[in-house]
């Protein structure tokens, strides 16, 4: 219909440029229209007879529009656009041959539907105008002669890599356009910017034809699982699970964490309406070593795809004991029980050293290592930075020198350590912290007046606290909430100011009838973390509950793990993907710092990777030109299995700056299980970013026309006449006829 009225397909109008081909300038056209309008106005005004002003105005408008339209047609309107020269250009037709294309809908696989479309319609139509080059793709693109050999067997879909491969070939042939038939189930998370910009540079439009439904009628899919890459022994970890479901709104399902096929944690969740939802499940990291967890939702009856219910995540549980220094400015019960929470349970992850000022000139030390803190609280960064966490109790701010205050801030900011401030008569606002560098790092604003009170007060979890592994005493959330509701009151508390942007309040505290104030608040600061626990009375959780109750030690062990788990060493190796799903490419990034945690620019950084078969490879990492102290490299994981990568950084090729171990895993045959529905958003974005169009299989018959409009390949610029569009003639007749009918009706013919 569009073409019947407008003579050309819509794509011509969207991509072409409108021009007027008359030799006469446009201003003459405008002037003539104005003169005609004025003349007609004068004429109608003189001769309107018995017509009312409004009717005369309508007559004037119709006549003016008619003359303007005729003048416009005389100025020779046209569309200027680049079109591929017939039979001189190549169109790449790319067919997805990954496993997800083997999924059947309405009794026919996606691949079969694509083949039918190609062989019955698309290829014959395209061949009339272009040379057609056929590709199949999955992990990568490759030339094929015909579609008969396709089996939907590739374990991965990498649209970006495949397009890049074809774009690279475009240098040797006049590539006019790419036509891609796929379900869009890309396993790399999308098409990278480099490939898009390469295609845009070549002006090659990518037209996509989507196969498969936008979603399954009944399916629960794990979209993503976020877990920490590293953990300390026996830590409680949080897995944040993104779930997408269709057809199971309101259903109760089991969110499970498995290790070696044995469930180690589970909780029942209710699926919300047809939309993505995020849930958390907590589990224990276990003993040292690399742990592989399967995290997801137990399949439920009637699911169309049960292969996308679990994802694998790798957590490396380190052997290292993280060092925490606790300084207390006066003997307090909290000091005793915090130490007991760690020491009584022989915590394998925390090494706690304490110093408490017992008198004005005496400090009592309980240190983990001989000679530790021999000169009191550290005065040099390399001494303080030897710890991973720092707890500051009831210590006046001015007990620390200005240099020490700055060093404490740097401890979190630069060194990446965890700092926890406790309340007390010499702490926070009561201790004069308000105008110190330490106040800046705190997650809460410090009140200007003293607020520490020795009144018993109730504690409560916030919504964030209900989700946090720090405050999780029971795996099941409802049991955990119930336990906190019965928690004994804390012995004291300090009223704090408002949270700063980015801070998260996990617990509140309030006396009966008082407004709640933040009790436990945390935030990231620089490379580290800072928290405020606005009480020193959690010891009542120990003294007011049965001696076998572990509430207090569990809470403090978890709080200390939060402080130190992510505290980096001098050398930190990382990768964006610890599990390579049907992928081989592992980018490596290593951050190298010295004892003061300043970036080291001239280090030699080498990673030795032990393969699953026991052999090893070595990767030399290169300095990142954009970031001092950062070294990058790439590794190809040839075989599926678990890899262990040990990175060593040296200065001058000799002195070892530090080392770090990273584990990662390559898994085959899983990627295509996820995102098996059509990823229409991705395909539409790809087409619009490259100047192409998205089609459904049913609407693809328009495609050959649109393919011809392209600025890539060998093109010719054509001016297509518009003056003879049927719509214009219909308009002329319509205006004139309408005016005549009105005149008849009004009796002025």
């Amino acid at each position: 219909m569009f073409e019947l009225l407008f003579k050309y397909p819509p794509a011509f109008f969207s991509r072409g440029k409108f021009v007027l081909l008359s030799r006469w300038p446009v201003w003459v056209l405008v002037l003539l229209i104005v003169i005609a309008a004025a003349g007609l106005f004068w004429n109608v005004r003189q001769r309107h007879g018995l017509l009312s002003n409004m009717r005369a105005g309508i007559i004037w408008f119709a006549e003016t529009a008619l003359i303007a339209l005729l003048l416009f047609m005389m100025w020779h309107p046209a569309l200027s656009l680049a079109r591929l020269r017939p039979q001189q250009n190549v169109v790449a037709v790319v067919v997805d041959d990954s496993r997800s294309m083997g999924i059947s809908e309405d009794g026919k696989t996606r691949l079969a539907a694509a083949e039918t479309l190609l062989n019955d319609q698309l290829i014959p139509d395209l061949k009339k105008r272009f040379q057609v080059r056929l590709y199949s793709f999955g992990r990568d693109a490759s030339r094929i002669d015909q579609t008969q050999g396709l089996v939907a067997g590739d374990n991965a879909t990498r649209i970006g890599d495949s397009l890049k491969h074809i774009a690279d070939e475009a240098g040797t042939m006049p590539l006019g356009a790419i036509v891609m038939l796929t379900d869009g189930g890309d396993n790399t998370g999308g098409v990278d910017r480099d490939t898009i910009s390469q295609l845009r540079q070549l002006h090659v439009p990518v037209h996509t034809i989507g196969f498969g439904p936008d979603h399954f009628a009944k399916d629960i899919e794990i979209v993503d699982v976020a877990t920490p890459a590293r953990a300390l022994p026996q830590s409680r970890l949080t897995a944040r699970v993104a779930i997408r479901q269709h057809g199971y709104s309101g259903a109760k399902v089991k969110l499970v964490v498995r290790e070696n096929d044995h469930p180690i944690s589970e909780q029942v969740i209710e699926l919300k309406s047809d939309a993505d939802q995020s849930e958390t499940v907590l589990f224990n990291a276990g003993v040292k070593g690399a742990h592989t967890f399967q995290i997801g939702v137990e399949p439920v009856q009637g699911e169309e795809n049960v292969q996308n219910n679990f994802m694998v995540r790798l957590v490396n549980v380190a052997e290292k004991k993280m060092r925490v220094l606790y300084i207390e400015g006066e003997p307090r019960w909290e000091y005793k029980w915090i130490r007991r929470a760690i020491l009584d349970y022989d915590d394998p992850a925390i090494e706690l050293s304490g110093m408490v000022r017992t008198t004005q000139n005496k400090t009592y030390y309980e240190v983990a290592r001989p000679g530790e803190l021999a000169n009191g609280f550290p005065t040099k960064p390399e001494e303080l930075f030897g710890y991973d966490g720092l707890i500051i109790g009831s210590v006046e701010a001015n007990y620390f020198t200005p240099q020490q205050q700055q060093m404490i801030r740097d401890f979190a900011d630069r060194r990446g350590g965890g700092v926890l401030f406790l309340a007390g008569r010499f702490a926070l606002a009561d201790g004069g912290y308000e105008n110190t560098p330490m106040a800046e790092m705190m997650p809460l604003h410090i009140p200007s007046q003293k607020t520490f009170s020795r009144d018993f007060a109730d504690v409560a979890l916030t919504e964030a606290g209900e989700e946090s592994p720090i405050t999780r005493l029971e795996d099941a959330r409802d049991k955990n909430d119930a336990r906190w509701k019965k928690m004994p009151q804390v012995a004291n508390y300090a009223v704090m100011g408002t949270p700063k942007p980015g801070a998260v309040v996990l617990m509140t505290v309030a006396e009966q009838g008082h407004h709640p104030s933040p009790l436990l608040t945390i935030q990231n600061y620089g490379r580290g973390r800072v928290g405020i626990f606005a009480t020193s009375g959690s010891w009542r959780w120990k003294m007011l509950q049965d001696h076998t109750d572990k509430t207090h030690p569990i809470f403090w062990q978890q709080l200390m793990r939060w402080m130190v788990t992510e505290t980096p060493g001098e050398v930190v190796a990382s990768t964006p993907r610890q599990v390579l799903s049907d992928d081989t490419h592992l980018p490596l990034r290593v951050n190298v710092r010295d004892k003061n945690y300043d970036p080291v620019a001239g280090a030699t950084v080498q990673t030795t990777i032990v393969r699953p078969d026991g052999g090893s490879d070595t990767v030399d990492l290169k300095p990142d030109p954009l970031e001092s102290g950062v070294y990058t490299g790439n590794y190809t994981a040839e075989k599926p299995g678990t890899y262990v990568a040990e990175t060593v950084a040296r200065q001058d090729g000799k002195t070892e700056l530090g080392r770090d171990t990273l584990t990662f895993r390559r898994e085959d045959g899983v990627a295509e299980n996820f995102g098996a529905a059509q990823n229409r958003d991705l395909l539409e974005k790809l087409s619009s970013d490259t100047g192409g169009s998205y089609y459904t299989a049913a609407g693809a018959k328009r495609l050959p026309d649109e393919v011809s409009v392209s600025e890539a390949g060998i093109t010719a610029h054509d001016n297509l006449d518009l003056w003879d569009m049927p719509i214009l003639f219909l308009l002329v007749i319509g205006i004139r006829g309408g005016e005549w009918l009105l005149r008849r009706k009004w009796g002025v013919v």
Binding site: P331, W333, K336, R339, R340, T358, E366, R425, R540, H547
Partner: protein, 268 residues
């Protein structure tokens, strides 16, 4: 009628819970004070620590203390004099007045006071319920200092109750190297601290308790739960610190020992 009863019961429950929500405050015990002392102005201050005196029953062993029992021996002057010393010599936030922990009438209050002192335990006579409570208190982390009991008979009386608190834990001599003797002061050289009676009798010991002992019961992690000052009278040394006849060396050691025990309890 039933509805009204329910409302009244609910209000009573709320009121009772509200009472439980507060820590007991300083309270005087007129008629039971062994050596009265003035009540300081800041008697009700809320602090981190104060001297918590155990009000235990003497029962069969009330002895010369008669109906009053032996728990308030030296009370409250000894308590308040030690408190002055702790305030002056340490950074512990300390109240000026003692707290009596009534094991008979309000036993659960003990859990709010992790350090308690019991005097003349050669006369205490705990019920099974009280023994169970003390055991639970100590296992949760509470600290008990016992003092001013002398000789074989009083030791036996003491252990009759103590062995019911901890039938499974031995009483041992504290070695000099134990941190309890070194938290603030190094107390390797210790003397027998006598009661006031030595000024009249000339003997620094009482009954057949000629040799002083610093004994203890440890928890599973090697920390002192119960510290026993046997054949000594630190309470008298605190009480008579302002008595010119009472020798300073005894007072000095009693203060140092008391401070060490308190700081130890707050750090171990």
């Amino acid at each position: 009628m039933r509805f009204r009863t329910a409302i009244v019961a609910a209000l009573l429950c709320c009121g009772f819970s509200a009472l439980l929500a507060f820590q007991a405050q300083f309270k005087e015990y007129p008629g039971e004070e062994d050596n009265p002392a003035p009540v300081p102005k800041d008697a009700f201050e809320k602090t981190e620590w104060t001297f918590a005196r155990l009000r235990y029953p003497s029962g069969r062993y009330s002895g010369y203390d008669g109906l009053r029992g032996s728990w308030p021996t030296d009370f409250p002057k000894a308590d308040r004099q030690l408190l002055q010393g702790v305030r002056r010599l340490t950074r512990i936030h300390t109240r000026s007045t003692e707290q009596v922990i009534d094991l008979v009438n309000n036993p659960d209050e003990i859990f709010n006071w992790p350090w308690v002192y019991a005097v003349e335990v050669g006369h205490w006579d705990l019920t099974d319920q009280q023994c169970k409570l003390m055991r639970e208190y100590l296992l949760r982390g509470g600290f008990l200092m016992v003092d001013d009991f002398h000789g074989t008979f009083e030791w036996d009386v003491f252990t009759q109750s103590m062995s019911r608190i901890f039938p499974d834990r031995p009483i041992v001599e504290l070695p000099n190297a134990d941190p309890i003797f070194h938290t603030v002061y190094d107390l390797d050289q210790r003397v027998q601290v006598p009661g006031l009676q030595y000024l009249y009798s000339g003997r620094i010991y009482e009954k057949d308790g000629t040799v002083p002992h610093w004994r203890a019961i440890y928890d599973d992690d090697g920390r002192v739960m119960v510290a026993m000052c046997f054949n000594q009278d630190d309470g008298d040394a605190w009480e008579h610190a302002d008595n010119p006849q009472y020798e300073a060396k005894y007072t000095s050691q009693a203060y140092r020992l008391g401070i060490n025990y308190v700081v130890y309890a707050m750090s171990h």
